[in-house]
Every structure is written in structure tokens, then in C-alpha cells.
Symmetry: C2
Subunit: 337 residues, 2 copies
Amino acid sequence: MTPARLQDVSEEELLRRLFPLFGGTTGSAEVLVGPGDDAAVVAAPSGSVVLTTDSMVRGRDWHDDWSSPTDVGHKVVAQNIADIAAMGAVPTGLLVALAADPATEVEWALALAEGIAQAAREAGAPVIGGDLSSAGEGSIVVGITAVGDLRGGRAVGRDGAGAGDVVAVRGSLGRSGGGLQLLLAGRGRTHRDAPLGDVDDPLARAVEVLCRVHRRTEDVPWRAGPEASAAGATAMIDLSDGLVRDLGRVARASGVRIELDGGALAAFTTGPLTLALGAEEAMRQVLSGGEEHSLAATFPHEVPDGWEVIGVCAEGPGEVVVDGEVPPVSGWDHFSG
Amino acid sequence: MTPARLQDVSEEELLRRLFPLFGGTTGSAEVLVGPGDDAAVVAAPSGSVVLTTDSMVRGRDWHDDWSSPTDVGHKVVAQNIADIAAMGAVPTGLLVALAADPATEVEWALALAEGIAQAAREAGAPVIGGDLSSAGEGSIVVGITAVGDLRGGRAVGRDGAGAGDVVAVRGSLGRSGGGLQLLLAGRGRTHRDAPLGDVDDPLARAVEVLCRVHRRTEDVPWRAGPEASAAGATAMIDLSDGLVRDLGRVARASGVRIELDGGALAAFTTGPLTLALGAEEAMRQVLSGGEEHSLAATFPHEVPDGWEVIGVCAEGPGEVVVDGEVPPVSGWDHFSG
């Protein structure tokens, strides 16, 4: 029996199968009108709303050989949640736009939805609406819009860092980039690999950790965003394109020189990163690995619990240095590669 | 000289060229944090926010031979604005997600943005953020999320119609479907055709009117949505998939039988529709033509200025009849065609 494809079921039948997957996510008292009408209505108790959108494209942002549809669904939501957190807001809802080749298997779409629902539940952000479109042969684009509320707090931009502020990170660094490196080198663990179970192999476990972070985006510290805002963070950013590149944006927007401490950064290379990649590549990933979706922020004084200080802001041009030197890291550009 | 493509310019350069196009749209006092940070922040004075998302896919939702990129940008925004209006809300902001083949010409993307900006200005809804992704060969997906505010009014769903309510339409019917019919038949006017200028040919003008509506979605009556809410509308819907199909959704959600008056509907066939397509096809388009993005609503008593009464709600099963008969109109399904 050939598997059912999107073109084999009506849109209404597909929605009937998708909605229950989001069921555990739609019970929020803040959702005033949920999926199924022209538009959703969500409470905005702070009198303002925080909004971001981020998409993943098959063959560009994920490879089917590496990532399961559940991985993809989890990752695209987590990326958006991180952007909401980086403003100091709490996620309150998600919109899902799926454009897919009609030959896509229905099971694939349902597994994607399961990953979206997992990440939605983790972040307490219900799926409030969406859109289905057919796309060209082989094409799948998953777009998420995330909505957030500041809970009466301040929005924290990228432009508020001042000379004398400390720079701190909440969450891991370099793991997603490390996982990508392993997958590119054919050393990674994909969704097709059998679970490790209780195999006692530290290297295999390290590879698994890094590749899971790359495939799914694990443990986005989204609660830390509003905590940082409340603790007086002067600037904050989601680490999506690599630590140095993203802090460069803070440095330029704020007009400060960000001076990072190589010793403090080395602490992020220990464990699975160094075990799987060696110390040198581990440090390269800490500085430039993308898609980590941890948070970086600047604080005038103390940093909240769980944040690690990695440097300071100084007077000077908008740039980032590590132990006084501009690090030789490249960036990522969506169109030119 | 070959035209520049997205892959030839950096993402930052592209954004530098795109942002000024949206410049006239970002001056709203309600935009607290605009494009360029992790997320945007928009005022939600009603303490809630209305949200919808709708995408257009190249080769599925438009054909390059028929529609210019400016047409596409205008249409995708207008579709979203209509959904916001259909809840009774005023549009307050737009997010734009573009996933495009890196070989797409830069001029194409800029012209798309110009269309988005035109529709954004018409609706007073600034572009507050977005996302750029690369996509596969030939693939372009334009996703919009629209945000709205109820201005203290009621959200109007699809489920509030009651027996005895009148059914009314604000805006045209069948024009977009008529334009599509003409284009499919090779009788349409595309963006490549020379402007008509002062040509005195009523048929050519009729064809132009219908095709423009199909290509761009003209004159979405978005102000009428909040007016209908204030006037006591019990149910409201954006007409995206055809009058009978969309009113069927209201009928089922509300548990009423919607009885339409063929004579009242015939009034919508006059002018360009009948001139270009003949009376019979004109009526077919009025009943089933998609993508019109006019509004339909039910009212307990009087209808506001500008709305045309086309029928009544009665006790009975959730269905739509015209002069007592279930009309033989088909629907539209995104995946199965």
C-alpha cells in the first residue's frame, strides 16, 4: 500500500487530523479565538504585543536524511520562541504556515505537527492559527510567527548596551554548529540511526548530544529572557548566526566595543564539544557556530542566576574582540551561502 | 549586463534596499519596536490582538506570465488584511516572510516589496518585521502575517448568526474569479500588456477591471469590518473561496440555513462581469468565484451603509440555498486542486 499523500486527502480532512495534535497546546486562557475562524484573537495584557517570524526550507535549512519532520517542527518553533525571549517577552501563541508539495506524505505533515506541538507545549505557546498552501515539486517551507507578551516589563533591544556593562550568555554555545560539522563530515547521528540506549560510549553520546541540538534546537532558555529584562538587561539578542556575529550587531547598534574573554569562552568548549571535535574546532564553534538559540545580554551590574559572564562593553567602535583581537570568524548569509 | 540576483548581494545589502520601500509604512505611533531587532513590538490598546497568516506560492497562487511581482505583493497583503477586517479589527502591522530561489532577480524582490508597501499604506498597516530564506530552484513563497486591533469592539466570529438575521455583502462578487476565467481562456489582460490608456473599448475595459482584481485584489473593504462589528454584526467572513462555500462555513458554524435571493445576487453580475463573460458565467462567478476578499456578514436588523442584503438566515440545517435550491458550485482545495 502506498502511503497517503497530501493530494489524496481534502484540506478539511487534513485539518481534522492536525488539530488534535495541537490540542494540548490550545487550552490557554489567553486564546480568546483559536484556530478555525478568519483570524485568531489572543490576550495582550501588557497593552502591546511582541511578534517575530522565521521559516525553514527543505534542503536549505534541513536535510531529510538527517532530520525527522518532528525535529524540523521542534526546531522552527524553538527558533521563533528564542526571538520572543530575546525581547524580554513570554511566548503566548504561534501561527503555522505550511507550503508543501502535494506529493508530501500525510504522515510527514503529521510528524511535523507533532514536533511543532512538542515545542509549543514546552514554551506554553498554543498554536492559534495557520495556513496551508501547495508548493512545487519537492518544495516544503514551514513558516512560524510567534507572539509574545511583555508581562508589563520592558522590551530589551540590541541598542542599549553601555560602556562598563558586562556581557553574559544564558545557555550553551557551539553545540548546534558542532552537530552540523559532524553531520557534514559524515560523523553525525541522524534521525535514522537507532537510539543509543544504554551504550556506554562517551564519544557516541557526545556526538548524539551535538547532533540533537542541531536537528531539534534543544533547551532554548526562553524563561531567561523576561528574567533578564527584570534584572535590568540593557541589550539582549538571540544567538542565531554565531556568538561573534550576533554580538557584533549589539556592538554596532549600541555603539560599544565588546571585549570577550577567551578563558571564559573556553569553559563552553568542555564536555561533548571538545570530546567530539577537539579543542580547536570546539572553540571555533563557540565563536561562530550558528543556530544555538541561547541568549546573550548585557547588564550594568550583577547577572541573574544561570547567566555566565563572558566579557565587558567598552568605549570604542562597534566591534567584537576576543582577548583583544578581532577573531577570524566568518558569517552566514541566507542567499550567497 | 545580466541582472543582479539575490545570490549576488549580501542579505544586509538587500535589507538596506528593501527597508526604504517600507519607509512610508513604518511611521505608525503604534509601532513601539520596528524592523531590525529580534522581534517587533506593536501597541495593542484593546488588550488583545488579532492575528492571521496567508501565503502565496509561485506557480500555484500566481503565474509570472500574468502577474507582476508588484501585483503579487499587493494581493498577498490584501488577502491578510481582509481576514483581519472579517473579525471586526483594524490592521496595525504586517510581518513578511520571503523564501526565494537565490537566482531570483533583485529587481523582482524589490517590485514585490513595492506591492506589499502599496497595500500596507492603503490599509495603514506598517511592515514591522520579516524573514528572508533561500529556497529551491524556481521556488518563491511569500508569507504574510497580519496583526490587528479591535479598538475596543467585539470580535465577530463565524458562529453567531441566528435565524431571522439578514445576510449582506460589502464589496464586489465574482470579479476575481471572472478575471481568472479570462486569463485561463487566454482572453485576459496580464501585467505584460500595454496600458489601455484612453482606448474607448468597453469590453477591453471590462476585461482589464476583472483581471486587475484577480492579479492584485483591489479595494478590500477593510474599514467595513469594524463598522459591521459596531453595527451589531452577528457573524462575518472574508470571501476567499467563493460566496456559497464561505457562507456554508457560517451556516454550519452558526447552525442556520442561509437562504440567498437570486435576484439580489443578479445585481452583482451587471457591468464588467456580464459584459466580459455573459450572464450565465457571470452568475456562476458571483456564486463560486474565489479570492474576491469582500466581506459577508449577518445582521439582526438594519445593515450599515454600503452593505447589500442578499438573503436571510432561517432555522434549518447548516447549508446555503439560492432561491430555495442548493446551487451546483464546486469548491477549491489547496492540495487536491
